[in-house]
Subunit: 339 residues, 2 copies
Amino acid sequence: MHGAGGSLMHSLIKEHVIKMLRPYKSFDVPLTLLEDSGVCNDIVFTTDSYTVKPLFFNGGDIGRLAVSGTVNDIAVTGGKPLALSLSLVLEEGFPLDDLDRILTSINLTCREADVDIITGDTKVVERGSLDKMIINTSGIGTRNPLLDRNLEYVNRGSRWLLASNIRAGDKIILSGSIADHGMAILSAREGYSFVSNIASDVRPLNRLIDRALEVGGVVCMKDPTRGGIADLLNEWAEKSHLGITIYEESIPIRDDVKVAASFLGLDPLEIGNEGKVCMAVVPDMVDEVLDAIRELDEGKDACIIGEVTDEFDVVAMKTIVGGTRIIGRPAGDPVPRIC
Amino acid sequence: MHGAGGSLMHSLIKEHVIKMLRPYKSFDVPLTLLEDSGVCNDIVFTTDSYTVKPLFFNGGDIGRLAVSGTVNDIAVTGGKPLALSLSLVLEEGFPLDDLDRILTSINLTCREADVDIITGDTKVVERGSLDKMIINTSGIGTRNPLLDRNLEYVNRGSRWLLASNIRAGDKIILSGSIADHGMAILSAREGYSFVSNIASDVRPLNRLIDRALEVGGVVCMKDPTRGGIADLLNEWAEKSHLGITIYEESIPIRDDVKVAASFLGLDPLEIGNEGKVCMAVVPDMVDEVLDAIRELDEGKDACIIGEVTDEFDVVAMKTIVGGTRIIGRPAGDPVPRIC
């Protein structure tokens, strides 16, 4: 279960990776903060390895996923994506047509996000020692020039967009419907015909993020990937030592995704996206930010889904039927290898 | 054979990766130059995925290899290594003791090279879909402050250390004995008792590289990894459109490595190191550079192994018995998965 995001993965990372590495210099955003990117000398730096199965799915492929994921990790921390690296590890005999299709998708997604691949590495390993391919994309970004203006409306200590910036009263915006990517992967993998129209939402979000920063008042952002918004909001609650209230009725979800998740006994709050972002925004600015991102196709379904409170320190959901449900951190993702 | 470095891998990279990606902005050192790092906005950026088998070997392990390889790729391009990313993909059930040992080695090698891990990613995939683990380390560096002084002695167009800087008359320095790493891996993998004392030379080389740049006159550097110095020198000849003459008698090689390679029918020129560097240096400065790096343990066996010529455009070796042998680019590495 370690592999799927959620609390078991977090304990693996905290009790092994962070513990053994003991970083010893100080940085603007060090590894120990476990944010989506690190920052040193105003360079935003991030890495992700992609093992998604299948490699091609409704709405995207591993190449589009890799570029989008890396661009989004830079952008949510306050970086302007500048360049990516591409490392391919291929199983011997990997079809060259599939490779070309994935590389073409990488190229197109790079253009969409206005970044280039500037360094790479390619290795081929013997048959049977790897399931088809793994892609690593790392990325660098400069400090987003919109960040200083954005922070004029925020006085929270950090020059970057961090979970520790969150304060009671901040509103939570979600840029669109939840669980699309995870359900699309599940559908492609299992061949469930009743979810066959669900497409992944995988896409670069730097344009939408810039639109929000132009308005200002954003204190923190993160894309809900592995573990869905349940994992994301619990991370924010932990790091800010505050509670978060969300309203079930305000959480955008496609009808077919809702039905499919219900049929499969999965909680859509725990299923990841790859083209959505959560933002914590100061209350005075939240409506203006919402209006701005709704003008874009990738933000047209954006909603305020909740707010931060100092009355408790967990994530609580006001349900449609009138109760309150505590949303825990998922132990593992119900849909592994979604990214 | 694609996987092992050499000409088949180069055709895979040129005819698929570079062709499909079509980078569209211009950079100081773009992907298309196929150097060890790319450079944009004076940020040196590199990536490598490590699939070495076995994970632990005489002289090192996959963690030390990853940190050293990435640090060295930054340093040879003219960067001062600043920070690394660490992405781990683990097979389900991977022993946590081994993970801790590898992470500890990463930490120690980072301190040796004076860099930190500042961002990371960890994924676990189901058993059978990966042979134990893959590590990706990417790295960023700032422009090495010694580079401007070094280039006072060189007038070759680029502000960076590139193969295209090479001119006829330049001398080739090799910092120590060839083939150590590849033979150590082969020994660990096959259990050949007659090579059991051969240790990998894997180490960060940024200190040695700084020492050379302090003297000045270095036009180009590269570490001979996959494909050995045969691959490296052919790459330099191709990119500079010049020939290179090397002298067999001057190439440092340990006796036990020579005997083992001969016994196994392998050409040590094609077997990789992970702790050596080749430098092309202007003739006026070469002796001073050599003296400087010989003062360090990691450069004590450094030699001038050859020179650049405009009389032909291949790599030619004057053999000990008195003839001349053309050194071709290896089709594939005789020892796959050495890094």
